[in-house]
Amino acid sequence: MPIIAVSNPKGGAGKSTTTLLLATYLAEQGASVCVLDADPNQPILDWKTRGESKTTLQVIGGVKESTLIETLDGLTHQFIFIDLEGTASVLVSRSIAMADFVIVPLQASAVDVRQAAKAIRAVKDEEKVAQRSNPNRKIPYRVVMTRTPAPGAPVSSVQRQLEVEIKSAGISRFKTSLAERLAYKAIFVERLSLPELKDMKVGNLEAAYQNIHELAEELVETLQAIGQRGDR
């Protein structure tokens, strides 16, 4: 049921990687999942159409601001992800307005954070617009830190400072971060899902898999809580 928009107007924040990892993981667990690839470069559509993954994940490309709502209305999947372009556009704001949940990936860099703040402000404003017709409507969001050092590796002072700022600003954040992993790059190179990389040398695949498992668990837990609160 949930429509999950993955948004940060900054390019390279990890939107497509986060989307593909979560979507393929949930599909592997038996959920019906669709990704609307709204990135002009169509990285996930390319992954699906030119790769040989056996995933049940459906990918729809070529989504535009004028076709977004019709496309969403025609879907019957349990989970719909919208992988958004790395820019501020009407397509992004409309996707946020239609979403049940927004994931804002960001790396520990000042540029990423400032752009993420723009996405969060857009979420809050779209929520206000939606509340004019439905006072109970909420568009919850969470930030997910991407490309963080693997557990045990030194954490940069910039990241520590960012984590403190996110907390003090009251911004919702996933407890799980997506670590910098060779396997997360390899899924796009090989056009396979994480488990399908098992015969290739792509670093610590087991740790990469565990990382996305934890993030998916947290996402599902969050979505269940949203459903129970009736935010949608």
Binding site: P2, A97, K118, A122, H213
Partner: protein, 108 residues
Amino acid sequence: MSKFGFDPEDGVVEVAKSDLANRLASFPPSSPKPAIDLVAVDAAAAPHGFISREAGSGRKRRVVPSEPKRQLSVMLPVSKYNRFVAYADRHRLTYEEVISRFLDGAID
């Protein structure tokens, strides 16, 4: 067991998977959402720099009407007005084209 630990007999991963799979089953399929006011949605996002990035179709050649035209002005409740404008926007139709479409589809 494979070097990455993806052996089906690997208890840790399998237990977690089945638990998550059960929780996923509680999510119903998606269904169409209520119409949203696209004009208001776009207006709220514009101050943050969320503007249309799609190339327009360019300036259209002026169409010479094949028959004389008359003005039609209609007062509507806001909800109906929003539905009408959203429909026209979604289908990229002029208001006149929307009315024509509805009339063509109407049963006399």
